[in-house]
Amino acid sequence: MNLDLAIWALAALSTLAIFSILYRENPVYRLFEHIFIGLATGYGISILWTQVLLPNWWTPMAGDGKWPWIFALVVGLMFYTIYTPRYAWMSRLLMATLMGMSAGIFFQGFARLYIPQLAASFLPLVQPEPPYVLFRNLVIVVTIVTVMTYFFFSFEHRSKVVRGSASLGRWLLMIAFGAIFGSTVMARMALLTYRIWYLLQGRPEIGT
């Protein structure tokens, strides 16, 4: 049987099986869900070996003679001690170390991500800027201040100024979230359009 046709047939079947959940959960969806998870697991295993362990661990250790890499396996095995009550503390030690590293990385990430944004918020609000730029700057600064006010936790929003600012912040947030929602709709529709096109028009001609 033509391979491309077989691929198309499987793909079409998979698509219809997944779409069937829109009606309700059913045995066909369940079967393909399990197949999907199995494929993803198998794919994960092959990628893990070919792109992570083989080039970064096995080749340096067994190929280039850097035998200390075996200690990485010893440390990796510490994850599995969680299933033994006596040695479970070792897995916690490893996790805590990784969490500590993650925390350390965040200090750098905070600076790289937020300092440029902070600097970009230092905008002039005074003439002789052109009016539309001034209006833009005013909206940006007011939005930032009011939205940040909304996220204060340590006091009830009792004062009129604070309550007003927090309310305005929440409204501006809702407008922003609406804009994100709207901007994503077309992209999602395009995905569906392609799937339907594939079902209807994507079948390869028999014999090609």
């Binding site: 391979l3 691929i7 499987l10 998979s14 698509t15 997944i18 959940i21 829109l22 869900e33 399990h34 197949i35 999907f36 199995g38 697991t41 198998g42 794919y43 295993i45 092959s46 992570v52 970064n56 200390p68 075996i70 200690f71 990485a72 440390v75 990796g76 994850f79 040695y87 503390w89 030690l93 500590g100 590293m101 993650s102 925390a103 350390g104 965040f106 200090f107 750098q108 905070f110 991500l113 937020y114 944004q117 940006i140 930032i144 939205v147 940040m148 912040g169 809702m174 407008i175 922003a176 609406g178 804009a179 994100i180 709207g182 709709v185 999602r188 995905l191 569906l192 392609y194 799937r195």
Partner: protein, 263 residues
């Protein structure tokens, strides 16, 4: 000789862990955990705060204009962490195999699905690992990857089109000022992306101050000014929140079911 070194290294590593378990008690283990957490974070923190060009005992980074003496270690440590993290995949694999294996072996309802799981997993693993050596396996891999794996993923992704419609329909019905604002903004941005929507303000001039009220201009302004500013403000809060949590984790101030547990 290399194989022997590797085996001896493995044995030595396991022996070290055994000794560590034998000669430590709850208190010293807790101290170890706190120390390793601190040192793990300290390395990255120091690499960040030490200025470029700084050396240590005569040792300099290859590119002192950009790096300090710790910077070259970042990549190496990253590689080690990647490998160690890779070994953890077996944890998930064991769980999946145990769950589906039990169902299959005991003939529980749904055993067919568990069988399908194993067939798919083994098939994809073997085809993925050995396809370079066998045309048959290359064919199998194509069937599994292009015929099943990719379409399944694309189909799940494309279901979002239905879900985004139902979610928008429900949200449009909510009678609150905030929901109305949110949906009005969504409506403007959606309409600005389609010709039919752009026709709504097509009659406005393309030059002059009235041009700013064309729907595509309003949509662009909403996305690049208001949306950007609001997300920036939310981001500052999230950043400070993340900083606080990172600080608590780094200094082992974080209490909870996991970190506070007896060792």
């Amino acid at each position: 000789m290399l194989a022997l070194k590797i085996l001896l290294g493995f044995a030595a590593g396991i022996a070290f862990l055994g000794l560590l378990d034998r000669f430590t008690n709850t208190r010293s283990r807790r101290l170890l955990m706190v120390s390793f957490t601190f040192l793990g974070g300290l390395f990255y923190l120091l690499e960040f705060v030490i200025p470029p060009g700084t050396g240590f005992l005569g040792w300099q980074a290859p590119n002192p204009a950009r790096d300090n003496f710790l910077s070259p270690l970042i990549e190496q440590i990253g590689q080690v962490v990647l490998v160690i993290g890779g070994f953890a995949f077996g944890l998930g694999l064991l769980n999946l195999a145990a769950l589906h294996g039990r169902t299959l072996l005991r003939g529980r309802p749904g055993w067919v699905n568990s069988l399908a799981f194993f067939v798919a997993m083994v098939g994809m693993t073997v085809a993925g690992l050995f396809q370079a050596n066998s045309p048959t396996l290359r064919t199998v891999h194509r069937l599994l990857f292009e015929g099943l794996y990719q379409p399944l993923g694309a189909s799940v992704f494309s279901i979002l089109a239905f879900f985004i419609t139902t979610a928008a329909y429900r949200a449009f019905r909510i009678r609150s000022g905030e929901a109305t604002l949110m949906m009005a903004a969504a409506f403007i941005v959606m309409m600005a992306q389609v010709p039919m929507g752009m026709m709504l303000t097509d009659w406005l001039p393309t030059q002059g101050w009235l041009a700013y009220f064309r729907i595509e201009q309003v949509s662009d302004w909403l996305m690049t000014v208001l949306n950007m500013a609001a997300l920036r403000a939310v981001g500052f809060g999230i950043g400070i929140g993340g900083l606080a949590m990172s600080l608590r984790v780094w200094l082992s101030l974080e209490k909870g079911t996991y970190f506070g547990k007896e060792m």
